[in-house]
């Protein structure tokens, strides 16, 4: 048998502050974005996935980039790099955003939270070096860009995340989806948002690195909470219909093709008070007006065979229609699920297409996303 998972990677890897805890918990560590990260614990991806859907799962996402933008001009400056409304974002509110390139493609996607005296950004691990340089180059003269390598990031996700976290600080229950605030947790001064990447209710917790292990242990001591690795994080986000940067979206995909139009507020679209003014705005505005020729869709397999990233999607005659960007057997939905970019005339709901897997054509149907309903606390 052969698979990439059977090979070892000799490159030296960075460690998160929780590395020793992962090893102690029996995690299988794999290279990811230059870090040694837990792909799964002994329970396995399926059990970890289900635990997150029904109880609460703790993820270490400290490999992601945390940054602060400080200064009176920070919000206006950031608006010159993203098509989102940052200036009007109220204190305590979080917003999904993306850096665009001059071709209207996506440089990275990120979360932005307005705090009392700064903007708090979380960017993808694989993009954080480039993102930081991008910020310094373009808006470094307008605000202070402060990377936070001294902070870990934990995600506590699942329907019972709130009851577990409440025991450490009851005030966290006052947060609603996509809001955040400062909370003391297990003696650590943390910044907590009620958000995540699983489709479930839950929290992301920015904690000083030297207090991260104590906080993680306090969370794992709660009866609802078990650790989950990047494997479950990936299957959870895919069932939730959420894009993974570098796979479902990248520098060659526009937010309109990716179905992320909802994330561009009206005020930044043509006719809005602060329309345009970010890289590639002309391209994106043009696509908003004229439409796009391909779009990201969800696909559900009609047979049990998993359809993975890279699989060709063809029509009944075998003519190519697109390619799968993410795919797995959905552990909660028990069906093959995937995302793909398809020509718009084949992207209608229930449209039947075929995935080519090992020389066979497997029927799939264009489906709504998410594949499992979001259960956010709004």
């Amino acid at each position: 048998m052969s698979a990439d998972v059977l090979r070892q990677n000799p490159a030296p890897l960075l460690h998160t502050p929780l590395h020793a805890l992962h090893v102690e918990l029996g995690a299988k560590m794999v290279p990811f974005a230059g870090y040694a990260m837990p792909v799964q614990y002994p329970a396995g991806i399926l059990a970890e996935h289900r635990h997150c859907r029904y109880e609460a799962a703790l993820f270490d996402v400290s490999h992601m980039g945390q940054l602060q933008l400080r200064g009176d001009d920070a919000a206006a400056a950031l608006e010159s790099l993203v098509p989102q409304d940052i200036i009007d974002l109220p204190v305590g509110k979080q917003r999904y955003a993306f850096f665009t390139n001059t071709q209207g493609g996506l440089r990275d996607d990120l979360m932005v939270t307005r705090r009392a005296d700064h903007l708090f950004l979380i960017v993808n691990a694989g993009c954080k070096v480039d993102d930081t340089q991008h910020l310094i180059t373009h808006i470094g003269h307008r605000c202070h860009i402060v990377p936070m390598p001294d902070h870990a990031l934990l995600a506590l996700q699942g329907p019972k995340a709130v009851v577990a976290l409440e025991r450490l600080n009851p005030a966290v229950a006052t947060l609603s989806f996509m809001t955040g605030g400062d909370f003391d947790l297990a003696g650590a001064a943390c910044f907590v948002t009620r958000s995540g990447y699983t489709g479930e209710d839950g929290f992301e917790i920015s904690v000083p690195a030297d207090q991260a292990v104590a906080l993680a242990r306090a969370l794992l001591a709660q009866p609802e909470v078990k650790p989950a690795g990047l494997g479950a994080r990936d299957t959870l986000r895919l069932e939730a219909g959420l894009c993974l940067y570098g796979h479902d979206i990248d520098a060659r995909t526009s937010p309109i093709e990716a179905g992320l139009t909802w994330a561009i507020q009206k005020i930044r679209r043509p006719g809005g008070a602060r329309a345009g003014g970010y890289p590639g705005a002309n391209v994106i505005d043009g696509q908003l007006a004229a439409g796009v020729s391909v779009k990201r869709v969800g696909l559900v397999g009609l047979e049990k065979v998993p359809v993975r990233e890279g699989a060709a999607i063809v029509d009944a005659h075998g003519s190519p229609l697109g390619r799968v960007t993410s795919g797995t057997l959905g552990p909660t939905v028990h069906e093959p699920i995937a995302m793909a970019y398809l020509a718009v005339n084949h992207a209608g709901l229930q449209h039947e297409v075929y995935a080519e897997v090992r020389g066979k054509r497997l029927p799939m149907r264009v489906s709504t996303m998410p594949f499992t309903p979001h259960r956010y606390h709004r």
């Binding site: 048998m1 052969s2 698979a3 990439d4 998972v5 059977l6 070892q8 299988k28 792909v39 799964q40 396995g44 991806i45 399926l46 059990a47 996935h49 494997g231 990936d234 299957t235 049990k304 065979v305 998993p306 993975r308 797995t328 057997l329 552990p331 090992r358």
Partner: protein, 124 residues
């Protein structure tokens, strides 16, 4: 010695020459993680040593199953098709993949014995 191993992490038990049992090793299932789908070979079809005879897919990856020896497939594990997790819970027993009629004992003899496979695992 009735069980031998391949460098591709299959095992073959030749107690019955006309129906030698093939599966994946404990290490293979551990490296793959939760198995969610198997593609088994065709009963009655002959395969040459090294041919792709099936596929095992976990949540995170797909891996080919290679034929450890030349021969005709005489039976496949239908229970495994129904419950692929057997490959994780009992890879050397209930989680077997298929049975093959062995034609060339020299091929079997050329595979790794248990100490040889253990030594291979230590190099990974």
């Amino acid at each position: 010695m009735t069980t031998k191993f391949t460098a591709d992490h299959e095992w073959i038990n030749i107690e019955d020459h006309d129906a030698a049992v093939v599966g994946i090793t404990l290490h293979a299932q551990d490296a793959l993680g939760d198995v969610v789908y198997v593609d088994l070979p065709e009963v009655g079809r002959s395969y040459t040593q090294g041919d792709v005879a099936g596929v095992v897919e976990s949540v995170k990856a797909a891996a080919d199953i290679f034929m450890p020896v030349t021969g005709e497939v005489v039976e496949v594990n239908e229970a495994l098709r129904e419950n692929p997790a057997l490959a994780n819970s009992d890879p050397m027993g209930e989680g077997w993949f298929f049975k093959v009629k062995v034609t060339d004992m020299a091929q079997f003899d050329g595979l790794m014995d248990p100490p040889g496979y253990d030594a291979l695992l230590k190099t990974l």
